[in-house]
Subunit: 341 residues, 2 copies
DNA sequence: TTGAAAGCGCTAACAT
DNA sequence: ATGTTAGCGCTTTCAA
């Protein structure tokens, strides 16, 4: 039992008794057609279950496809899910469909995905770069008129439109908040070394806030971690210092999980915490978690808007757009330092 | 300054001084080619930045595309992100790329996305149906040999492969756990009416657990909510009953947020809670949250495996595969009922 | 080992 | 209002 061939324009035309072009005209509302022909064509389309082959159309029209290719390091990360959602909403009105792939933070897979998208002639390419990837090969495609937008982190080897959160000023604001609450020894738990843009920026924001307040910068207060477990260990180590921090800034969601686990475990609930990145149930924690929240949907929406402008012919020079983070005060950052710890 | 045209096979052939077919042969490793020709072709490809046009190839070979189309109700929901990730890992080895779109839980957008995917000749279509959608139109495509897999919920009007969590037995297990802990009045906070498969199944599991234990089924203990706010209100209402529940089962993540918020607000921390669906920082809550965890990655991986088998020619009748949920005991479900509340 | 011609499904350009 | 021809970029078929 060989599967039925998908019906083509010609099949519909034969069924109705008109030419292929007429069917095409009806379906694309291109040129005139008599009401009667129109009706019969649509009937035949429904009867045969005809779906126009978009690839054949694209080939002929020569233009790019109607898709936006998006490469992210991790699809299961809600941040990128929200980014994707923002992009989709923005470009949907232009009839663009989102194509999404995950690089698993591997530069090779990232490159493979980019190649797939290019081969598919996406009309826009968006990339949230993996750590250590390189993008100079994209230059030629950008020159060929395809908009390229980097998200969350800038691309490497290529100057083009970029949309990132205010990692630096956001972290600075969070740390300044702790300082305003009377803290002078503030630990930083992050993923080091900071080769990655976002991590580097956040650490820089932390340092700036200390400098702004004229506080000395103690290297011992900066802890390296790579997952919740090591973040928990790092937190324990910080609190075991002879002159321990009275407040912590956690550099991302993963770190936050470890930091809070350790604080709960160690009964150190009086340590003030500000976390970079919001978490869904932050308000239920005790104390409720004060965060520097990103706005992933806005990041996506902004990237979508840029892409649309580029597609419309905007040839202005590449810009980097910063999407504001917001300090959300919930309690954990408002704990006063207790002397004698 | 008109953008440079993308190079084609013919451009490469001209550059090298061979025929298009020869270039095609080299690139697809189809048929023999002299080492010298091979080298020169590859050089020209690199020099021109040639990317084969996958759409043109698909057109000619007639076969389906090398993509898997996935429609989910909400991309920013981590559950579907993890599902997508599982699918991607499973199909990547077959050279398939994931195409993903969000229906925003709107049957019309779902249908539009499905049409787009069909028009793009995806080789597999996967759908996590929106509430109230209908899929009988897919029958003809399935007959044409395109695998269709439903995820998370069964499709409507069409019998085909389906992968769902053990919503019913999982909930039953969660409620049984509460009963084993001595609870006899157990509230259910969920999204009602239960037109949606997952909600219906979870409520059924709740009822089954009560019946198993010979407990009477009190309608007053079943509360309807649609978001965290109404879930919080519903929780408050349940606890204000003359004979209030001593334990709660929360039907999904959204409900859980509201339930926990209300328990924290009302100081009712001694109410036992089991939540359907895990949350990232469940272990940090006080008490740590006992959950019936789904395995979204496994749901995706299973769907991917099914699709691959179908593409390989498996014509067995459609199956529904259940992916196990797991009861994770963390504390909130182990609170004993206190008389005299 | 290589090439020429035909054709995939569709639409642009020009008829009628 | 409709049809004809040609051709998009590629691969298949057949020939050299």
């Amino acid at each position: 039992m060989t599967p039925a061939r998908r019906p083509t324009l010609a099949d519909v035309a034969r069924e109705v008794g008109v030419s292929a072009k007429t069917v095409s005209r009806v379906l694309n509302e291109d040129g005139p057609s008599s009401p009667d022909t129109r009706r019969r064509v649509l009937e035949a389309v429904a009867k045969l279950g005809f779906q126009p082959n978009l690839m054949a159309r694209s080939i002929r029209t020569g233009g790019p496809d109607t898709t936006v290719g998006l490469v992210v390091p991790d699809m299961s990360n809600p941040f990128f899910g929200a980014v994707a959602s923002g992009i989709e909403d923005a470009v949907r009105t232009r009839g663009l469909t989102l194509l999404m792939g995950s690089s698993h933070d591997d530069p090779h897979r990232e490159q493979a995905l980019i190649d797939t998208f290019l081969a598919r002639r996406v009309s826009v390419l968006m990339v949230a770069p993996a750590a250590g990837s390189e993008h100079s090969r994209l230059q030629v495609h950008r020159a060929a008129g395809m908009p390229v937008v980097f998200l969350d982190r800038p691309g490497t080897g290529l100057t083009t439109d970029t949309v990132v959160s205010t990692n630096r000023s956001g972290t600075r604001e969070g740390v300044a908040h702790l300082i305003a609450g009377g803290h002078s020894r503030i630990g930083f738990v992050g993923d080091l070394p900071t080769r990655l843009y976002t991590r580097r920026e956040r650490l820089a924001g932390y340092r700036e806030a200390l400098a702004d307040a004229g506080l000395s910068h103690d290297r011992a207060l900066i802890a390296d971690a790579h997952d919740p477990e090591t973040a928990a260990e790092a937190t324990a180590r910080l609190l075991d210092l002879r002159d321990p921090p009275t407040a912590l800034l956690s550099g991302n969601n993963t770190m936050t999980l470890g930091v809070l686990t350790q604080l709960a475990r160690g009964g150190s609930k009086d340590i003030a915490v500000v976390a970079f990145d919001d978490v869904p149930i932050a308000s239920i924690l005790e104390p409720a978690l004060t965060v520097v929240a990103q706005n992933p949907t806005a990041v996506g929406a902004t990237a979508g808007a840029i892409a649309i402008r580029r597609l419309a012919g905007d040839r202005a020079r590449a810009r980097t757009v910063l999407v504001e983070t917001h300090l959300i005060l919930r309690g954990s950052g408002e704990l006063a330092p207790r002397p004698g710890r």
